[in-house]
Symmetry: C2
Subunit: 436 residues, 2 copies
């Protein structure tokens, strides 16, 4: 089936290893797991969307219901934000606020398949939701989590780019650029379209060339880290209330991110970051790999005023980010940034003769009891074939007790990584393996 990512076992091990790291770092900061059903009621899922997204939703209907001629009343989630909104609205009185949640699940979009774009793909999201008001301090926690996640994933240096939609709105007010949301959407395309095309598009919505150019000049200042970010904020100043508020907030957030312990070179202000989505209202985030800017943002998000206005009367402001893991995995694989495939199996216990089976089973059981992931060969074969199986499947250690070893009360331990082997006392098999 085209347009879906299906991995071979060792690739799957690598993929699940990434999920484990991300989940561990999310939970290190106190984010609790939730999982929502793949299917939501169509009326819930489509309440917020329109246009292209609506065309891309997967409708779901049981064969029985289809035969009866009913309309589909279920659809697959296309992101994790709408399900979160429905979840928080539905369980509001059983949750504690501020509510920090993580959610790592596949989402579904009926897109035309293309390289690296999938119809089923994993998203890894965190959000903090509070009732009525959410302190700006949470805007600074998010980069701290991003920092821990990508440091732990260890794909090389990265930088978290922050900006403020409020600051951008203030700038646009100053430059008399209207309407803000449409202009921001154009700014978000700057990377892909280049300045000339963006100026042309802005002119179509009524922005003068002069204003557009001054706006893009500011955006072109690029990433400013450390004290350079604060200098830039000082330069922007506070010509109007919106701008002043945006600048003050950004200053406060950047100051706090430092207090969260994120290194200065790992985050900064980037006025070109806009995020296309309408619902962001304050701080926005993008994260890029320093050595691989061509991958684009690998982790993005922002602050929003009200998560679930469609489903509840409570005002629920929040801030969060999302990692598009399937796409990131595909990008890393293509850029050769994934480490060599390693198995979850640590030891293959071989078998050279039928008489050796009981002893081979005991050896494997001892290793497993010691917490070592151990696969057993159950049908005798030539040792060369068994070593080939181990090598092909990314298993580093091979342990066997052939007839000679059994007579001498020994086992043979072969390390396929270092290409060395040694005999060990049968009773020391666990220690011999753990010493490798």
């Amino acid at each position: 089936m085209s347009g879906v990512m299906e991995l071979l076992p060792l690739e799957q091990v690598a993929f699940e290893g990434m999920i484990d790291v991300i989940r561990r770092e999310f939970e290190r900061f106190g984010y609790l797991p939730i999982a929502t059903p793949a299917m939501e009621l169509t009326e819930v899922l489509l309440r917020k969307t329109g246009g292209e997204t609506e065309r891309q939703v997967y409708l779901v209907q049981s064969t029985g219901s289809a035969e009866q001629g009913d309309d589909p009343d279920l659809a697959l989630r296309f992101d994790l934000t709408v399900p979160l909104a429905r979840y928080v609205a539905e369980h509001e009185h059983q949750l504690s606020f501020p509510f920090r949640r993580h959610q790592i699940q596949p989402v579904y979009r009926g897109e035309r398949p293309q390289r690296g774009r999938y119809r089923e793909f994993y998203q890894c999201d965190i959000d903090v939701i509070d009732r009525n008001e959410l302190s700006l301090r949470f805007d600074a926690e998010i980069p701290a989590v991003i920092n821990s996640v990508f440091a732990a994933l260890d794909f090389g240096e990265f930088v978290i780019r922050l900006n403020s939609r409020r600051l951008l709105a203030g700038l646009m007010e100053k430059l008399e650029i209207e309407p803000h949301v449409a202009a921001l959407r154009e700014l978000d395309r700057l990377d892909r379209q280049g300045p000339e095309n963006v100026i042309a598009s802005l002119s179509k919505i009524g922005v003068t060339n002069d204003a557009a150019q001054r706006f893009l000049e500011l955006a072109a200042t690029g990433l400013r880290t450390g004290s350079d970010a604060f200098t830039l904020l000082d330069e922007i100043g506070g010509d109007n209330d919106l701008l002043k508020q945006g600048v003050d907030e950004m200053r406060a957030v950047l100051t706090l991110v430092r207090e969260w312990g994120v290194s200065e070179h790992r985050f900064g202000l980037d006025l070109s970051i806009a995020r296309g989505l309408d619902y962001y209202t304050g701080t926005v985030y993008e994260t890029t790999l320093v050595a691989h800017p061509e991958l684009g943002s690998i982790c993005s998000g922002g602050r929003y005023d009200d998560l679930a206005g469609q489903y509840t009367k409570s005002r629920l402001p929040g801030v969060g980010i999302s990692i598009g893991l399937s796409r990131l995995f595909w990008q890393l694989q293509n850029a050769d940034l994934l480490p060599a495939a390693k198995s979850t199996v640590e030891v293959l216990v071989g078998l050279l003769d039928d008489a050796g089976l009981p002893e081979a089973l005991r050896i494997a059981a001892e290793l497993r009891d010691a917490g070592v992931n151990t696969e057993s060969v159950l049908v005798p074969d030539r040792i060369g074939n068994q070593l080939k199986f181990a090598a092909k499947n990314g298993i580093d250690l091979y342990v066997v007790a052939g007839e000679n070893e059994r007579q001498r009360g020994e086992v043979l331990v072969r390390n396929l990584r270092t290409q060395t082997q040694a005999s060990a006392d049968r009773k020391d098999v666990v220690a011999a393996v753990q010493a490798q």
Copy 2:
């Protein structure tokens, strides 16, 4: 939405804890992870099924495709066996055999919702697949894995019931019961229907009362563990080739399970185990909790001759089991067998005044660096409210440095489980937490 399981965060922690244990034990025995897309091509998914299952399949179609009036060509997987068959057939030449795989994913059935039956539910499957032939020795590995999984899950004593479809077929041949598959399906209902109803149903397919009664008498011998199992196998004898083969195989498997190190009281022969599914051909398994037989089988499976005949010319025999985790979780919750809800968050670092924020952030960072999952209070509040938050959310430890503590260079560490608290030197905060 009815008919789906959606958990609150602390329940989700418990559920994911079970998945983690199951995955760890699967991997301890060398089973490799795979994941398949939720959607398969309709023609692939429906090739094998018919009747009721076909009515229960969820068809999937993008809104765009539906508008064009196309027929849905995608459907959601309803088990993990059909996707495994398609996966192995598709990737056969990149896989190594014997292929041990585990797969832990939700499956979808358009059933009428009822208590404890879900339209989306998690299955945790392992299977070993080989080409052409799969040694009987693998039939004995499966109970060893089941044993490790349920010992680690720690829900009380359990017993793994083994039987052989071949042995049952031999018995039916001896008793002149025909057709075998239909009769086995009736035997599978013995638990729920009682012997009289089963005899009546058997009579409808042409089985004489006398034969049905003798068949059910044998099934009624119930579970036989240890040497009792072998005595029963000796009594059954080998009146025909099928029966002799079935008895010999069962004897070999039971002998081997013991050599895999499974305690004698944890497995045995139970002639009433039939498994309803047509495709089992040899050993079959069910697992029950000793103190809770009313939960029925919590882990079932068996041996089959050919996994993927629909998709490949290769003959791929296999053996495997499945844990229906969502249903099991619901049953355990209802039977009050789940431990008290505990959070993934280990420490809540409190905040009593704005001036304390930098210090609170540093304390939290030190704890996280030491691997402790730590949530930070970011907006000052009364200590009572913060302790209430921790208690309600299953967080055991609360650490705070109020103005007094900061002046004295101390922190307060409160253990909500033991209801004790003590001051510690600020610099020893990690040790003080780890000592709890």
